[in-house]
Every structure is written in structure tokens, then in C-alpha cells.
């Protein structure tokens, strides 16, 4: 593949990723406020959070100051993001594969980030010896990412195919997702193994990307890996693998959203606007006609 084609492909696929990921995230964030649906434990509860308690335990809770701990919430999130604590607690058998799989992805993200910084520094002409020494460890970091990721992906694939309880509800799309990621990890491992001057090659690629200069003379293994990774990135926002974004909302805007309604607040105004929307549900007991709004239907006397 020529350098120009690779560069153009990279820009297109990256653009697809960025636009689709942003759109999908914004779409979730802009969904209307919903009724409260919190679920214990809510870790931001400063003292009660450790056993799942909430501010509703307090006598006349509205007169008591809310005691919240950002640190407790962050610790909970870190444990969940870095160590997949919920899976460890509730399905350890799968954790042994899912954990290396996710760590592989995290390390890969770090390796890509370092490479891009290297490319940017090179473009700016401010590379330092210390940074150069650091970037020479890149093959080890990337190698660990690929091995862990590949082991995890194989384990997850085998689990999905071999365990009847998982196989029953595994879709072809879920298998495809794992195969695609396995291909990314394996092609990466082959690249680390076969390309001797990987830090320089990767940095050159990053530099090319940042300066819109077509790269040339890339080894086939590296080109294959880059293309597969970019295809994965462009596909990611259209898949259930966007759960890493969704997870923010399921935790912060559903499970941990225990904000009480206060008269005169922005939340109240938002709800009052939503209550003005017309209702078109058809069940007879609602007596909705597409013109009546939520308030009309909810305050209407029922037939006796």
C-alpha cells in the first residue's frame, strides 16, 4: 500500500471514529432527564457508602447536610475501570480472560499515546534524550499489550463458544468483535516480533500522520497492523464495545443519580418542560389523544 493511500485511509477512518464516537456520546448525554432510578451502593455517600446506605437513612434528611466524598467515588471508579471489580466479584471465571483483554487495550492506548507524543515532539524538534530513552521501551509496552490482549481475546472467544450458558446468548456480532480485536492484537504482536526498529518506525508514522506527510517504506507487518487498528477504531462507535462510554452514564446518571428535586431548580424546570409533551399511548385507561400532555393525563379523574 502506498504511503499516500495509507495516510488518506487513516484520516478517513480516524474521522469516522471521532465523529461517530462524539455523536453517539452526545446523543446519550442529551437524552431527557429521567425519573429517579438509583441503586445502592452509591459510593459518593461519605460514611454510609461503605455498606450501601444513602442520605435517606437520616431523620428528616432534607434538614441534614449532604456528606459526599469525591475520593470514595473516584476510588470506586478506579477499581472498576482498572481491575474490573464487578466482574471479579460476580463472575471470576470470566474475569481471568476479560482482565488481560482489557489491560491489553489500556496498554495499547498508552503505547499509541506515547507514540503520538513522540511524533509531535519530533515535529516540533524538541526531543530530549530522556524521552528518547523512554520511547525505546515502547516494544516492551506494546508487546505486553498485544500478548495480554490476544490471550484475553482467545480466552473470551473460547468461553463464548464452549460454555453453554454463554454460547446460548452470544451473537455472531459479538464473535466478530472479538475476532477483529484478536486480529489487531496478533498483527501487533507479529509487528513487534518482526520489525527491529519499531520505536523509530512508529514515531515516523506518528510524525507522518501529524504533519500530513505520506510515510514510505513501512514494513508490511506494521502496515497491516495499522490498517486493522484503524478499521477497528472506525467500527468501534457503531458497536456495543462503546460500553466504556455508556458505563459513565449508567453509573453517574442512573445508578448514582439520587439528586432530589428542589423547587425552583433547573431540574424542576427541565421536568416541567417534559411534562408538557403530548402523549400518544393508546390504552383506554389513559384516554390520551395525542393532544393532551403528561400533566393532563396524570391529573385526569378516572372513570368511576
Amino acid at each position: 500500500m502506498s504511503g499516500s493511500i495509507l495516510l488518506a485511509l487513516a484520516y478517513v477512518l480516524l474521522a469516522v471514529f471521532v465523529v461517530a464516537a462524539v455523536l453517539r456520546t452526545v446523543r446519550i448525554a442529551r437524552l431527557p432527564v429521567h425519573l429517579r432510578w438509583e441503586l445502592a451502593p452509591v459510593p459518593k455517600e461519605k460514611t454510609r457508602g461503605r455498606y450501601g446506605g444513602s442520605y435517606l437513612e437520616a431523620y428528616e434528611w432534607w434538614k441534614q447536610p449532604r456528606e459526599e466524598s469525591v475520593v470514595a467515588e473516584l476510588l470506586y471508579m478506579l477499581e472498576e475501570i482498572l481491575f474490573l471489580k464487578a466482574l471479579w466479584k460476580h463472575q471470576r471465571r470470566l474475569w481471568w480472560w476479560s482482565f488481560p483483554f482489557h489491560v491489553g487495550l489500556y496498554l495499547l492506548a498508552v503505547a499509541v499515546g506515547l507514540t503520538l507524543v513522540e511524533g509531535a515532539l519530533a515535529a516540533a524538534g524538541v526531543l530530549s534524550p530522556a524521552w528518547s530513552a523512554l520511547i525505546h521501551g515502547l516494544p516492551w509496552l506494546a508487546g505486553a499489550a498485544y500478548v495480554l490482549g490476544a490471550v484475553g481475546a482467545v480466552g473470551l472467544l473460547v468461553s463464548r463458544l464452549a460454555r453453554p450458558s454463554l454460547r446460548a446468548l452470544t451473537t455472531p456480532v459479538a464473535l466478530f468483535n472479538l475476532v477483529l480485536l484478536l486480529a489487531v492484537f496478533v498483527s501487533g504482536a507479529v509487528t513487534v516480533w518482526s520489525v527491529s526498529d519499531l520505536p523509530a518506525r512508529a514515531a515516523g508514522l506518528a510524525h507522518a500522520l501529524l504533519t500530513a506527510t505520506p510515510p514510505h517504506g513501512l514494513p508490511a507487518a506494521l502496515t497491516t497492523h495499522v490498517v486493522l487498528s484503524l478499521v477497528f477504531l472506525a467500527y468501534l462507535p457503531f458497536s456495543q464495545m462503546m460500553h466504556f462510554v455508556a458505563k459513565y452514564f449508567t453509573y453517574h446518571q442512573v445508578r448514582w443519580d439520587d439528586e432530589p428535586l428542589v423547587v425552583g431548580s433547573r431540574l424542576e424546570q427541565e421536568v416541567q418542560e417534559l411534562l408538557k409533551q403530548p402523549v400518544t399511548w393508546s390504552a383506554p385507561h389513559l384516554n390520551a389523544d395525542g393532544v393532551k400532555n403528561w400533566v393532563d393525563v396524570a391529573t385526569e379523574e378516572v372513570e368511576r
Partner: protein
């Protein structure tokens, strides 16, 4: 269980039972309940009944849906389901839960971690259709295929095709009533997907679009409550008569002057009971009156229609019915000019009025609302009442109602009371926010048609019954009387049916009741034991 059930099987062979459940599939209970041949035989659904009503899911019939007479009629319902499915995913018709719903339908990675958290699935012998993920996956595929552009093509390409027909609709309807919405599965999900919410949304679709809901929850539930004042059928006159009778009874029993005030304006608090307590467990509202009066609390009951019944079955199946009842509760408090509404010992009342309806009660209807648990804790530790904990010196365990504990995070106040007043208090395993549902949640406790009680007790309540037996394993015999504290009316309904079903009072000496009864039982001023060791 005989065979694996695939997702698309739900729409196939609609006249057959999809995945039967039977006693033989269920995991054994501890002795003396371990002999399957000694357990009550499930009620049989007769062939003529099967012809009359839909019975195509698991051989259990909770909903008694009549069989339509023509294919056209069936198709009309299928079409309405499809229309409702589309509405479920629109901002106008479902702003109330759209974000949580989309997060749960679009991001599940099918890791099945939630399965083992579900007491119904695990205690059914792992029947595939009871997985929390099964009904969710059916809804997910239907939504993708029928409620999104290009869905039919996508379904073919991805191999996730599913047919929307009479079999799918009717099985899904029954399946929406095989989950107690305890949300233990949601707690276990690493991503935060909520399959309990999926059940809730399915029930809503059936109610709000097709007008389908269990008659115990709708006609005899929310509609009766809105028409007469209470899902028990009690009008204001009957309620006042009954409470007066309870007061007299309690006065006689305790030799204290017991009086429950009605409609006292500007009282500090309006206490709203689940009105079912007044009929099934009158000692509970009676005990509340004794404790509140002894502590010198300025309180009142209401005789306004709906204002005297905290039940709100809308929580389980219909957002509008939920809002209609919650608004009436708030209007009652506003009319009486009280400072706050206090929930009686009723779990779903707590969740409906304290949190779910919170964002519906705007403006001057935003009345302060609190649980009876912190109020009782405040009273017990205030020093205003003298207690003798030795009067409660028998084994006591606590059942955590899901709606109060897991859903609201009210965990410790009731425990602090029990640790103080009950020397032999012991926890179940697991407990607190990790508790198991009693099996009567989401309205099941008031549903007993056909063979549903057999299923509700044997399958849905099996884990809870095992937990209770395990908690009292050190003194298993009937000679030691034991008490399951279940501070929730629905849970008590399920406890009653479950303990009665197994003969647990006779075989193991186990009975049940609320929290406030234990408080009164420990009062020095109450001379005779308040707890009666009998099934009621």
C-alpha cells in the same frame, strides 16, 4: 430443564409451552423440606382452561390472558405491540425512562454475569427463559428490528432475526411477570445494564399501549384505588371504622389508651400505611399508633380517598397510574398542611413516593417525604419510651425489602433498632443491599391466579425461604419460636404464603411480622406479649 431455549424460539410453535418448569427441576431445600414428594403438588391447568387462556411460556399462568377468537384479532394485538415498541423509544412518550432504557438495550455485552445474581433463574434449576438476559435480548432484538430504520435488513445480516407474532407477544407478556424487578442483576452488571428496568419497560408497553396488565395490579389495584380510595376496596368511612376498631382492640390488648388521629391539620407528619395492613395485619398500624403516641409525636392519618392507602402498584407497570396516585398522596399532605409524609412499613410505597415520583411532584406538591425507619430509630433511641430487650429474647432475623434497601439505601436504621431490642438478632446471608428478594416483589405477592402461587412460592421465593432456614439453622426445631422481621407489606404477604405453604410454623417454629411490632413487644409499658406466635 430439558433443553436449551434460543432467543428466536420465543416466536415459534406458539401453541406449545416454550420451556416448562416443574418441581423436579428445583434445587433441594434444607431438611425437613428436602423431600420433593412431601412438597405441595402444583395446581394443574386443565386442558379446557388452556383452550380458554394463553398458556405457552412455562406452564404457569399469571395473567389469564384470554385466547382471541380470530387470527385478525391476534394480528391486531401484534400490530399494537409494534406501535407501542416504537413509542417506548421516543422522547415524548417515554422521557421518564428513555435514557436508562437505551443504555440497557444498546450496551449489554451478553457476559451473563447477571444470571447468577437472579434468585429466580438459579432456583428454577437454571431455566433459560428466566435468565435476566433472555427477556432483555428478546426486547433488544425486537426493538432493533421493528423500531429502528433499516432494522429488518440488519436483523438478517447479523443473524439476530426474531419474529414478532402472537406467540412472541404473549410469551413476552407472561415473561414480564417472571421477574420481581429486585434489580439484583443490575447490581451485578459490570456495565450497569439494568434488566430489571427492561421488565419494567415491557410491562409498561403492555399496559400503556395494549391495556394489558394483571387484574390484581390494574382493575383491582390502581383503578380501584383511584375510584374508591384503596386497592383493598375500603372507602373512607370503612377505613375510619376499621382504624377505630383496631384502636379499641389494641387498647384492650395493651391496657394503654390507643388512638389514631384522622385529618388533623398542621400535624407534624402524615402517616400513610399500606391499607392492606389494616385488614391483614392490623397489629402493625396499631403498633405504629402505640409507638407514635408514647413518643409524643404530632401525627395524623388521612381519610381522603387514596390518602389513606400508600399502595401504588403503578410503580410496577404503568407510569401514568404511578403519577396519578403519587399526586393524590402529595395533594392530601398539602391539604392537611403537614410538614412531611412518612411511609409506613411498605417497600414499594417507599420507592414510589420517595424517589420514583420525586421528579413528578413539582411546585407546591414537592412535599417532604421520609421512611418510617429513621423516624422509628429516632424514637427508639430518644429515651422517651422505656424498653426491656429481654422481652424480645427469641431468634430474630431481618428480611431486607428490595425497595427500601437496595433501591433506596435505607440499610442501618432498622438494624440499629434490632441490635438494641432483640438480643438474638442474626443476619441472613447475604443481607443489606445484597439481599435476595422475598419472591413477592413487583406485585407478585397480591397475584394468585391459576398455579401462579405455586410458582411464586416454590421458585421466586425459594432462595428467601432457604435463607430464612439457614439463618435459624442453630435452632431448627419447632420448640424454639423464631421471628422473621419483614418491614414491608408485600414481603409479608409473600412470607405468609411461603411459610404457610411449607408449614414452617409447625415444622420449624417460624413466624413473621413487621418491625414496629417488635418495638411494641419490648416496651415496658406493654405488659402482655404483643407478638403472637401464630400464622396470620
Amino acid at each position: 430443564m430439558t433443553r436449551r431455549v434460543r432467543v428466536h424460539d420465543i416466536g415459534k410453535r406458539g401453541d406449545e409451552v416454550l420451556s416448562p418448569v416443574s418441581l423436579q427441576d428445583l434445587p433441594p431445600l434444607p431438611p425437613p423440606y428436602d423431600k420433593m414428594d412431601e412438597q405441595p403438588v402444583w395446581k394443574e391447568i386443565k386442558p379446557e382452561a388452556r383452550e380458554r387462556m394463553v398458556c405457552n411460556l412455562d406452564g404457569v399462568v399469571a395473567l389469564s390472558l384470554p385466547q382471541p377468537e380470530t387470527e385478525e384479532e391476534k394480528q391486531a394485538y401484534v400490530d399494537r405491540f409494534e406501535a407501542g415498541l416504537k413509542k417506548l423509544f421516543t422522547r415524548e412518550n417515554n422521557w421518564t425512562f428513555l435514557q436508562p432504557l437505551l443504555l440497557s438495550t444498546d450496551y449489554c455485552v451478553a457476559c451473563q454475569t447477571c444470571n447468577d445474581a437472579c434468585p429466580i433463574y438459579t432456583m428454577s434449576g437454571r431455566n433459560d427463559i428466566y435468565r435476566p438476559t433472555y427477556r432483555a435480548e428478546v426486547l433488544r432484538r425486537l426493538a432493533r428490528k421493528y423500531a429502528r430504520p433499516g432494522g429488518k435488513l440488519r436483523a438478517k445480516v447479523t443473524g439476530e432475526d426474531i419474529e414478532l407474532n402472537w406467540a412472541t407477544v404473549t410469551r413476552l407478556y407472561e415473561l414480564a411477570y417472571r421477574c420481581t424487578m429486585c434489580r439484583r442483576c443490575a447490581q451485578a452488571c459490570p456495565i450497569g445494564v439494568d434488566n430489571g428496568l427492561i421488565t419494567h419497560e415491557l410491562r409498561k408497553l403492555f399496559s400503556q399501549e395494549l391495556g394489558w396488565a394483571p387484574k390484581e395490579l390494574h382493575e383491582k389495584g390502581t383503578m380501584l384505588q383511584l375510584q374508591v380510595g384503596s386497592s383493598t376496596g375500603m372507602n373512607p368511612v370503612v377505613v375510619k371504622d376499621n382504624v377505630e376498631f383496631i384502636d379499641d382492640d389494641m387498647s384492650e390488648e395493651t391496657e394503654l389508651e390507643v388512638h389514631s388521629p384522622f385529618d388533623k391539620e398542621e400535624a407534624d407528619l402524615l402517616l400513610i400505611h399500606n391499607a392492606g395492613e389494616m385488614l391483614a395485619w392490623p397489629e402493625n398500624p396499631g403498633a405504629f399508633a402505640i409507638v407514635l403516641n408514647a413518643a409524643g409525636i404530632d401525627w395524623t392519618l388521612s381519610s381522603d380517598e387514596v390518602g389513606y392507602d400508600g399502595v401504588n402498584y403503578g410503580l410496577f407497570y404503568d407510569d401514568f397510574q404511578l403519577a396519578r396516585i403519587a399526586l393524590r398522596h402529595a395533594q392530601t399532605a398539602k391539604k392537611l398542611k403537614v410538614n412531611k409524609i412518612v411511609m409506613g412499613e411498605c417497600g414499594h410505597q417507599h420507592k414510589a413516593l420517595m424517589t420514583i415520583a420525586d421528579r413528578v411532584l413539582t411546585g407546591d406538591l414537592s412535599v417532604h417525604r421520609e421512611s418510617c425507619m429513621p423516624l422509628l430509630e429516632e424514637i427508639v433511641f430518644s429515651g422517651k419510651i422505656e424498653f426491656d430487650p429481654s422481652k424480645n429474647d427469641f431468634p430474630v432475623t431481618l428480611h431486607d425489602p428490595c425497595n427500601i434497601v437496595r433501591n433506596l439505601g435505607i440499610v442501618e436504621p432498622q438494624r440499629r433498632i434490632l441490635r438494641y431490642l432483640c438480643p438474638q438478632f442474626r443476619e441472613m446471608t447475604p443481607h443489606g443491599v445484597d439481599n435476595y428478594c422475598c419472591g413477592g416483589g413487583s406485585g407478585f405477592a397480591v397475584m394468585s391466579p391459576n398455579n401462579f402461587t405455586d410458582w411464586r412460592v416454590s421458585v421466586a421465593g425459594r432462595m428467601k425461604f432457604k435463607q430464612i432456614l439457614d439463618a435459624f439453622a442453630d435452632q431448627p426445631g419447632p420448640e424454639v419460636k423464631k421471628y422473621v422481621c419483614a418491614p414491608c407489606s408485600n414481603c409479608k404477604g409473600q412470607m405468609r404464603d411461603m411459610l404457610d405453604y411449607y408449614g414452617a410454623l409447625e415444622k420449624s417454629g417460624i413466624t413473621y411480622g413487621g418491625l414496629v411490632e417488635l418495638i411494641v413487644n419490648a416496651m415496658v409499658d406493654v405488659k402482655e406479649p404483643f407478638i403472637k406466635w401464630e400464622m396470620h
